[in-house]
């Protein structure tokens, strides 16, 4: 009877310890970002215009891409925002 009590206590102790130290499953996924942005432009809205320098330092306006026809028609524009810090 004594022995089983010790075993039970040990099991309880180990069980409790595991509950404390097992890391939560949701937190540390690699590459995880904070929750999504709330004010990002939506489909159907106009893309906000801006002027930024290109890799040569020349200022470029976003709306200017649409007005440079390639092959005779104004193009669609795919904006890719990436993390940087190569």
């Amino acid at each position: 009877m004594h022995r089983s009590r010790i075993l039970l206590s040990a099991a309880l102790l180990i069980g409790t310890t595991m509950c404390i130290f097992v890391p939560p499953s949701t937190a540390q996924v690699k590459g995880q970002l904070p929750p999504g942005p709330k004010n990002a432009p939506q489909i159907g809205q106009k893309a906000p215009d801006f002027t930024l320098p290109d890799s040569n330092g020349t200022p470029v306006k976003l709306s200017s891409f649409s007005s440079i026809p390639t092959g005779g028609k104004p193009p669609w524009v795919l904006l890719i925002f990436y993390r940087g810090y190569w």
Binding site: A47, S63, Y82
Partner: protein
């Protein structure tokens, strides 16, 4: 890239890297599309995709893609919760083709 050019889609990449960094990167990787530098988070704030202190304490961009038509209207976008999950070029091409139907 040829699939984008064939569909008359201009590709523009933006990050907080300064022009000198992207120029070097383009040279090494042989990219042919336009890279813009948003060191002051101008466009990033307008598109609400700032990842505050996302890299060694510095504000950087959340990865995101926006496809807009010639009028400047956003027709497709992609935001991710994990920067290891990025759409492939084929995903964008398919979205474009679906929109054009």
């Amino acid at each position: 890239m040829k699939e984008f050019e064939a569909r008359n889609i201009r590709v523009v990449a933006i990050s907080v890297d300064p022009p000198a960094t992207t120029k070097d990167h383009i040279r090494k990787q042989g990219f042919t599309y336009t890279f813009l530098s948003d060191e002051k988070l101008v466009a990033l704030k307008k598109y609400d995709i700032v990842h505050a202190a996302g890299f060694e304490g510095a504000d950087i961009s959340r990865p995101a893609e926006f496809l807009m038509d010639p009028s400047g209207t956003i027709r497709w976008l992609n935001m991710t919760d994990n920067y290891n999950k990025r759409p492939k070029a084929q995903d964008v091409i398919k979205a474009f083709d679906d929109l054009k139907k």
